[in-house]
């Protein structure tokens, strides 16, 4: 006997049976409105009562690009008008990669109140970090686009390949996020470690320098997943088609990261609530 009003019901969000991480993944994807709005709210919170708000994000990037381009185009003996768009794209992509990775370490910890009171699958908290950083990247894209316009690179953008690259990057970072969120909730030192590692990685990944400066066989490039992820997005944005070698590397690292992320989620899922 069901009452009429029980037809109007909320979806059952959390699966209680163990081993249902797949179901939780699909439930979380269906809840896209929730995590996108959480991402937007996070940014609003960060810049509440600030006059310029998220424009601060973009202005920080603009200043870095201006200063670094002047210096590095001389060090590397590359024309300024070529280096500025290259650096702009690279910094935008790196900012996304690094801040998604570091913020993920706190994805569960900062959601403690929600995790302990709502039946929401935890993937939502991972997607929220990814969504938040994509929104930041959207702000930064405006600056980068202006730089491309100034130096006449805007018309060179290859839209299809750029979209493929960005999609792979998003998937890759979602996998990394799931791994870091799980470890970061259980080992609180992990956030510090990741922050420091990424401070070094920005110099080991071709952001301020060109891949050809170290030769194409350098271990700095081949064993660095961020090199592939960087190139498959940056190259099409600058009007080049990435080589199939780059795509093979990027797809492999993306698949590996998604598998690792899923395993980390499934393994940690039942413990997280007790550790935060």
């Amino acid at each position: 006997m069901n009452s009429p009003s029980s037809t109007m019901r909320s979806r059952r969000l959390m699966r209680l049976t163990p081993g249902n991480s797949f179901a939780e993944l699909f439930d979380s994807l269906r809840l896209w409105r929730l995590w996108t709005s959480m991402g937007f709210t996070d940014i609003q919170q960060r810049y509440r009562n600030s006059v310029l708000g998220p424009i601060w994000l973009a202005s920080a990037l603009a200043l870095t690009i201006a200063g670094m381009s002047l210096l590095y185009s001389q060090i590397l003996q590359v024309p300024f008008q070529d280096f500025a768009p290259y650096l702009a794209a690279g910094l935008m992509i790196w900012t996304y990669i690094a801040s998604t990775a570091t913020e993920s370490c706190h994805a569960y910890v900062t959601a403690e109140g929600l995790i302990k009171s709502l039946q929401v699958p935890y993937f939502v908290y991972i997607f929220r970090v990814v969504a938040r950083n994509l929104i930041v990247m959207g702000h930064n894209l405006v600056v980068v686009a202006i730089i491309w316009l100034i130096f006449g690179k805007f018309m060179l953008i290859r839209p299809v390949e750029s979209l493929i690259g960005i999609s792979l990057l998003i998937l890759f970072s979602a996998g990394v996020s799931a791994v870091f969120a799980a470890i970061g909730a259980i080992f609180r030192d992990f956030y510090q470690i990741i922050t420091q590692i990424f401070q070094i990685l920005i110099f080991l990944t071709p952001v301020f320098w060109l891949p050809k400066s170290v030769g194409s066989r350098s271990a700095f490039l081949h064993f660095n997943p961020f090199y592939y992820m960087m190139e498959i997005v940056r190259e099409p944005l600058l009007g080049n088609t990435p080589s199939s070698f780059l795509y093979i590397g990027a797809v492999s690292f993306t698949v590996a990261s998604l598998i690792a992320g899923f395993i980390a989620y499934a393994v940690s899922r039942k413990s997280i609530v007790f550790y935060i």
């Binding site: 709005s37 995790i115 009171s117 030192d189 609530v273 550790y275």
Partner: protein
């Protein structure tokens, strides 16, 4: 009356690990490796608290269960197990239907948004689509009795006002199983009256209410069953009127 079993707990035990920062740092895990252990070895040294022990509990349509017991008896832990937030360390829980749990009147909401906007947030957290939410909102606003305050940021609300809003949202969503912790008692007399009326109606629509409380008046006016928890065990579970003397003294 449908007596289909909606909640079934079998031998549910919950151990809560006691957090200690050193145990959770990588340093300790790394030391564990150095002496030849495995990465998670430090876990073995963890102190755990058995919050619930071998709980068996069945609830059927129309049950209004009061969860009573002294502080630290495991009431909140049991509510969190029922809500699917704490997975049992041992045992199984089967729930059939939508569970909606409210542990505190803030609902996990954004204190900088107005009560009006937070109704949308709360619904989104509970997987309710926008159209349904818009349909529910006027009645939620009305039942909350907040009037013009509904458009002010929630950080300006008193505890009682938040409780009103939380209660209005939770009961409007109409779950099959409604799980509520202590916070309800923060409302004023008028509100308590309305709230009890509404809860009775909810349960009349063949739903389950599980309420943790210390207020015997509330238990007597709302509930037909009582579960007495003591040190993580169920000391009594059954009809309120058959509660043996001495199991939970305040009821006398």
């Amino acid at each position: 009356m449908n007596s289909e079993r909606l909640i079934s707990l079998r031998g549910v035990t919950v151990d809560l690990p006691v957090q200690e920062t050193r145990a959770r740092s990588l340093r300790k895990a790394a030391l564990g490796i150095a002496v030849g252990g495995v990465l998670m070895r430090s876990r073995n040294d963890h102190v755990t608290v058995r919050a619930l022990s071998q709980i068996n509990l069945d609830a059927h349509h129309g049950d209004r269960i009061a969860l009573v017991g002294p502080n630290g008896a495991g009431k909140s832990t049991l509510l969190r197990v029922l809500a699917g937030i704490y997975p049992p360390t041992q045992g199984t829980i089967t729930t059939n239907g939508v569970v909606n749990a409210v542990f505190d009147s803030s609902l996990g909401l954004d204190m900088n948004l107005s009560g009006y906007d937070n109704i949308a947030v709360a619904c989104r957290y509970r997987g309710i689509d926008r159209a349904t939410m818009e349909g529910l909102r006027p009645s939620i606003v009305e039942f909350s009795g907040l009037g013009g305050f509904i458009h002010l940021p929630m950080r300006t609300y008193s505890l009682g006002m938040m409780a009103r809003l939380a209660f209005a949202v939770t009961t409007s969503i109409a779950p099959d199983i409604l799980v509520m912790d202590e916070w309800l008692a923060t409302g004023d007399a008028t509100f308590m009256e309305q709230a009890q009326e509404r809860l009775r109606n909810l349960v009349d629509e063949a739903r389950i209410l599980i309420l943790a409380t210390h207020s015997m008046a509330l238990v007597k006016s709302l509930c037909n069953k009582v579960a007495v928890l003591d040190h993580g065990r169920i000391a009594y579970y059954g009809p309120l009127d058959q509660l043996p003397a001495g199991v939970y003294p305040p009821l006398d």
